[in-house]
Symmetry: C2
Subunit: 195 residues, 2 copies
C-alpha cells in the first residue's frame, strides 16, 4: 500500500466497502473476505486495520452516525426560519434520497445483526433521542409550541415518527416516497405548533 | 416420527424453533442445522417440511403475522368503549411483553435479512397498514376524531408511531418500557380525538 493513504482514510474506505457489501448481499454476505475483496485489499491488509468483523462493524456504525450528525449541523447553520429548519433537520435523518436510504438500510442491518449481543459490543447510539430533545426544546424556546403539550411525550412521539417513517421508507417497497415523508413530517410539526 | 403429529403442527414447531434460534443467536445463527437441532429433528426430517431456509423463513414470518392478527381480532370482539378498544388493539401490535417483544425482534431480523431480495421471495405483509386504516376509519365513523384532520396523513402518522415505538421498545435497551409505550399511544389517541 502506498504510505500516502492516511490510516483513518483507509479505515473509512473499508467501512464504506462494508456498506456496499451489505446493500448488495445483505448482512449475511458481509464476511471479512467479501469486504476485503470489495475494498480491493488482501485479508491480511484488512486485518491490519480491523482485527475482526466486530471491530469493523462498530466502526462502520459509528461512521454512519457521524455522517448524519455532520449533515444536520450543516443544516442548523443555514439560518432558516424555525419551522423550516426543524423540517430540514428531520429530512436529514429520515431516508428521502439514495444516500440516506442506503445509510438507513445499513443501520438497520447492523442493529438487527448486533441486537442480541449489544451488551458485549460497544454499539454507538444513533444520536436521534438527543436530537429530538433538542428539536422540541428549540420549538418551545422560540415560542412555537401550542399550549398544553406534554413535552416529554412530544419528544417520545416525534422520535417514534422519525424512526417509523424511516423503516417504512426503507422496507415499504416504494409505498412511502420522499414527497409523502415530507408531507407527514410537515403535518406533524404543524399539528404541535401555533400558526 | 409418530404419525400422530399433524403436518401443520410440525411446521409450526419448526418455525417456533427458528424463532428461538434467532432470539438466541441472531439471524446469522439461524442455519438449517441449528434450527433442526433446536426442533429436535434430523436435517432430513426438517427438509421434509421445508426444502430450504427461504421456505422456512417465509413460513415463520407468516406465522408471526397470523398470531398478531388473531390477538387483535380477539381484542376487537371484547366490546370495549371505542378509545379503549383502539388502545388495546395498538398494545397487541407494539411490544409490551415478552411475547410481543420476541415476535417483533424476530420480525425485524427477518426483514433486515430478506429486504435486499424481497422481490424474489414472497414476503408476507405485516398487515399494519390495513389495520391502521381501519383504526382511523373507525374513530372517524364513531365521531371521535377532531375536526379538520387530514385522515390520510393521520393514517401515515399513526403507522409511523406504531413501528417507531416498536423498534424503540426493541432496540432501545430498556429505555422505552411498557408503561411509557402505553402513555405515548394514549397521548397520541387523545391528541386526535375529542374529549
Amino acid at each position: 500500500m502506498p504510505k500516502i493513504v492516511n490510516h483513518e482514510e483507509r479505515k473509512k474506505q473499508i467501512a464504506e466497502a462494508m456498506w456496499r457489501v451489505i446493500l448488495d448481499k445483505g448482512m449475511e454476505g458481509a464476511t471479512v473476505r467479501n469486504i476485503a475483496e470489495e475494498a480491493g485489499l488482501s485479508l491480511g491488509a484488512l486485518r491490519h486495520y480491523f482485527s475482526n468483523q466486530d471491530d469493523l462493524l462498530v466502526y462502520a456504525m459509528t461512521l454512519v452516525q457521524e455522517r448524519a450528525t455532520d449533515r444536520i449541523e450543516a443544516v442548523a447553520k443555514q439560518n432558516l426560519p424555525p419551522k423550516e429548519m426543524v423540517l430540514a433537520v428531520l429530512l436529514e435523518i429520515v431516508p428521502v434520497n439514495q444516500e440516506t436510504l442506503a445509510e438507513m438500510e445499513v443501520w438497520f442491518a447492523f442493529m438487527a445483526h448486533v441486537n442480541h449481543r449489544r451488551e458485549e459490543l460497544n454499539i454507538p447510539d444513533d444520536g436521534i433521542v438527543t436530537g429530538v430533545h433538542k428539536i422540541i426544546a428549540y420549538l418551545d424556546n422560540v415560542g412555537l409550541l401550542k399550549e398544553g403539550l406534554d413535552l416529554d411525550l412530544e419528544m417520545e412521539r416525534l422520535y417514534a415518527i422519525i424512526d417509523g417513517i424511516a423503516i417504512h421508507a426503507l422496507f415499504g417497497a416504494g409505498r412511502l416516497e420522499a414527497e409523502r415523508v415530507k408531507k407527514t413530517l410537515q403535518y406533524h410539526i404543524d399539528s404541535i405548533c401555533v400558526e
